[in-house]
């Protein structure tokens, strides 16, 4: 965190849709300059939380403050400091790239002269210069996403919500988008970022919250979240032959939390420890099972996510 003063401060937020509790006493604090990742399975309450913060939804209980001020549907001074990049490309199909950015920028900036500069900067930022006179239908998926971003950031907001901005985007465009977001943060913007791509969040975000069932189940840096899980290391070994004796030997190791044999591939989740790889290979040697390639890696954010939210399918 570059500055500890909270830009977003949500306390005890409760949102119900009839019998369903979408947000269950939800708390959130985001400091100035953070790139804050919001992770959670479908229906976990991420979008509802953002909508409540933006006052697009009413809520039963709790409070939302931005820069220390209560946020209400008519807090236009606060709203002018916010940018939003929705998950769907939300632009006017009948307007060109430039006209679209200008229109959405005009919701925040009245002066035409100033807006012209901002629109030019936004077009340059997302690299849509040669497509400025194109209508959205003529743009590829990646270019349309970049237009979507330009419309959300042209007015140079201090707080920007990105809701899964890289869905259905090719790796080149994704890298460009992520680099752009880092650039915005370097320029001082506070970012709230939701995504299902764990690697993306891990690379980008300074802090991450994992949500489930309308609650925050964990919050911290990627390293802190990994440290908080029981998994210390994942070892994967390609055996010469699939052998149940080998699996039994591994399961008997003191640090083994879970071991599976799929075909001739042995997967072992180990508790934290310095000798896990040596212990696994030693046990295989002891039962006389040969092996080829061996992999050892620390837990990923995906492991943390699945451990905290479970593997049950969601909507």
């Amino acid at each position: 965190m570059t500055d500890q003063s909270p830009v977003v401060e949500v306390e005890d937020l409760v949102k119900r849709y009839k019998e369903v509790v979408a947000l269950d006493h939800f708390d959130l604090r985001i400091a100035q300059g953070e790139i804050f990742g919001l992770l959670g399975p479908n229906g976990s309450g991420k979008t509802t939380a953002i909508n409540c913060i933006l006052q697009l939804l009413t809520y039963s209980k709790g409070s939302v403050k931005l820069w220390g001020e209560p946020m209400t549907p008519t807090s236009y001074d606060l709203k002018r400091r916010i940018g939003i990049v929705p998950q769907q490309v939300a632009v006017m199909a009948e307007l060109t790239v430039r006209e679209n950015i200008d229109y959405f920028c005009s919701l925040y900036v009245a002066q035409a002269e100033r807006r012209r500069e901002l629109v030019d900067q936004a077009i340059a930022f997302v690299g849509l210069g040669e497509f400025a006179s194109f209508r959205p239908k003529k743009l590829s998926g990646g270019l349309a996403r970049r237009l979507n971003i330009a419309c959300g950031i042209a007015h140079q907001p201090e707080l920007i919500f990105f809701d899964e901005p890289t869905v259905a985007v090719d790796p080149q465009s994704r890298n460009a988008i992520l680099e752009g977001i880092r650039g915005l943060a370097r320029d001082g913007a506070t970012i709230v970022y939701t995504s299902h791509y764990m690697e993306e969040v891990e690379q980008l975000c300074t802090r991450i919250m994992i949500m489930d069932h309308g609650r925050s189940v964990a919050v911290g840096t990627a390293a802190e979240l990994k440290a908080a899980t029981g998994i210390g290391e994942r070892v994967e070994v390609e055996l010469d032959i699939a052998d149940d004796a080998a699996l039994a030997a591994i399961l008997n190791l003191p640090n083994t939390q879970q071991a599976t044999l799929e075909g001739s591939t042995l997967r072992v989740d180990c508790a934290r420890g310095s000798q896990n790889l040596g212990d696994v290979l030693g046990a295989l040697d002891a039962v006389g099972v040969g092996y080829g390639r061996v992999y050892s890696e620390p837990p990923t954010l995906n492991d943390v996510f699945l451990e905290l939210t479970g593997t049950e399918l969601r909507d």
Partner: protein, 377 residues
């Protein structure tokens, strides 16, 4: 200003909106032109009849002169085929493939008789009315000659005189085009429906984006409604120019009055379109609803032919309040007031009612927009 300009561009470039609001009424007017133009002229076509040219006919005072007069010249009413006797005349009518409407003969007692052909054909009633008018005219002339021995047909006075009671003569053709203009005024409400529906945060992602913007809702709504009004009025002006100068329909030189009515009518229907847009339905359904209501209300403005006109007139008589709530009918009445009356008082009263209706509908739209929230970003 930017919001207004962008709304204008957005709505003008929206192909489906433009097709419904602009092209559809123009196509309808063109169809009316094909179907109804010449409706008034049909009454002026001369009618084919057979006349029994026998002794009784020649003895009837002034009859042959009357028939000669109405079957020649610029104002020809009849095309006469003479037959020597009734049998021959009957044969001509029966075997003329419907060419002859009937035959005129004078009975031995001196009475003029019209034996009409009862077979159905287009314009049968109108043709028989023409022949009846000729016979009536003759009977009046004959009575004058009988009362004034020695007088000739030429000396008989004109027994009827055309007096124009309205500023312009009644015209069935114009009635249809007024209904069509009323319908067009309803259809342009689609501009407002589309524009306002797009602003609704609960129904579109663009709407959600606008809702989190830094402008109060009225500052987004007002330019959009303004743009919808400009397009609605512009569309109607183009429609009027098309009907008046391309199709050549005469509006009795009251085009300025019609423009004023279109200006107020466009405001009322723009307000109607905006009020429809805040209903809790999907955007496509809203557009369909707007078009559907426009078609339904046009039924009560006589758009769909004589049956529709009778229904419209009887409804207006039985429930005038319904007329006041129907912009299509109000527009129609206002057009006719301007066309027929010397004074604009009646039209002004209708325009005041339309303006009040517009205010109420704008109020409903603004209230509806205030209550909208959205569920997804």
């Amino acid at each position: 200003m930017n919001a207004f300009t962008c709304s204008l561009k957005t709505l003008a470039r929206d192909k489906s909106t433009t097709a419904w609001a602009f092209l559809f009424p123009l196509v309808l007017c063109s169809l009316f032109y094909i179907a109804f133009t010449g409706l008034d002229d049909a009454m002026g076509q001369p009618v084919d009849v057979v006349v029994v040219d026998d002794a009784a006919y020649r003895a009837a005072p002034g009859l042959s002169e009357t028939v000669d007069a109405v079957s020649s010249g610029d104002d020809q009413w009849l095309v006469v085929k003479y037959a020597p006797n009734a049998k021959e005349a009957d044969h001509l009518v029966a075997h003329g493939d419907g060419k002859y409407y009937g035959y005129l003969a004078v009975s031995p007692s001196g009475e003029v008789e019209y034996h009409r052909d009862w077979r159905e054909r287009p314009g049968l009633d109108a043709g028989n009315e023409v022949v009846a008018a000729v016979v009536d005219s003759y009977l009046q002339t004959a009575a004058f000659i009988a009362a004034h021995p020695g007088a000739t047909v030429a000396q008989a006075p004109e027994f009827t005189k055309a007096v124009q009671l309205t500023a312009n003569p009644p015209s069935d053709e114009v009635r249809y085009f007024y209904s069509a203009l009323g319908f067009a005024t309803m259809m342009v409400s689609i501009f407002a429906t589309t524009g306002v529906a797009r602003l609704r945060s609960g129904r579109s992602h663009v709407g959600a984006r606008i809702a989190v913007g830094g402008l109060p809702r009225y500052r987004v709504l007002a330019p959009t409604v303004g743009a919808a009004y400009v397009l609605a009025f512009g569309t109607l002006v183009i429609g009027l120019v098309y009907v008046r100068y391309v199709l050549g329909v005469e509006f009795g030189g009251r085009e300025t009055g019609i423009l004023a009515i279109l200006a107020v009518g466009a405001a009322a229907t723009t307000a109607f379109g905006a009020a429809v847009a805040v209903l809790p339905l999907a955007s496509g359904a809203l557009m369909g609803l707007s078009a559907g209501i426009s078609c339904l209300l046009s039924l009560f403005a006589g758009l769909y032919g004589p049956g529709s006109q009778e229904l419209a007139d009887s409804t207006a008589e039985a429930a005038p309040w319904f007329t006041w709530l129907n912009p299509a009918r109000e527009m129609y009445d206002a057009f006719f007031s301007v066309y027929c009356y010397d004074s604009f008082d009646q039209a002004a009263l209708i325009l005041v009612r339309l303006a009040l209706l517009a205010l109420v509908l704008f109020g409903l739209a603004a209230f509806g927009m205030r209550r909208l929230r959205h569920e997804h970003i």
